[in-house]
Symmetry: C2
Subunit: 128 residues, 2 copies
Amino acid sequence: MDEQYVVSTWHYVLAKHAKAMCALERELGDKHGLGPSEFEVLDRIVHHDRKLRIQELCDEVHLSQSALSRVVARLEKAELVCRGVCDSDRRGVFVSITEEGRARHLAALPTQRAVLAEIFADAPALIG
Amino acid sequence: MDEQYVVSTWHYVLAKHAKAMCALERELGDKHGLGPSEFEVLDRIVHHDRKLRIQELCDEVHLSQSALSRVVARLEKAELVCRGVCDSDRRGVFVSITEEGRARHLAALPTQRAVLAEIFADAPALIG
DNA sequence: TTGCATTAGATGCGACTGCATGTAATGTTT
DNA sequence: AAACATTACATGCAGTCGCATCTAATGCAA
């Protein structure tokens, strides 16, 4: 593993990340009133198609537990998800998506896909 | 360009970026008192080996102009760089690295490289 | 049961970020 | 030259983040 190659890869990741995050923030925000983190959380719930523990979400979105807690709070305030206690462990919190949340996610999905498609149009084979 | 492939690439970028940024923040911060943005700015100046306009740096590090202005302010306060007016265009600001800044960068470089090497150890061919 | 360590999630706090805007220098038009 | 647009950088501000810490529930040992 050549050092210069590692550094190039890192710069590639930095560039794509910055460009994509910036575009997603703009597009999702303007068109759908969602931040990238909000979208990602909705997306994960829809993908699993069930209510999830906060901790399960933590493993999937790249946020600290505290940041995730606040994203969920914002989503709940916007009535896109709701929180419910977990009966088997009353410390836990289940997060489930509302109808409005599902609709908002569905509307935002093409926007996200379009942004990613444009930015990764030139992407070389990458996943091993 | 398959959509699922684009999404996978995006998730790969997100994961590597989060992991690397988190590790760099910890390692560079603890061992050298530098944040990732601070290191990157020092690194760019060393790489060019000359004083740079703020705007030139803007093109290379993925920060807004305002964020970069503040990074430079922090670095100047720490005496790792100094700002000087540009004679040919007195709106402009030159940023040059100090001896201390050069030393700090040199000390931090192996730390950064080690972090990246570990995180991208499994990286497949990526740059076209 | 009682006492202590652990775990889930919420929250205070300080740091960094981007956007909008401010200030000053430059360029352009008439 | 005067007036206006543009450019370079700095700064007020609000938003999000991670860390440390708090509260409450759980687990485990004596």
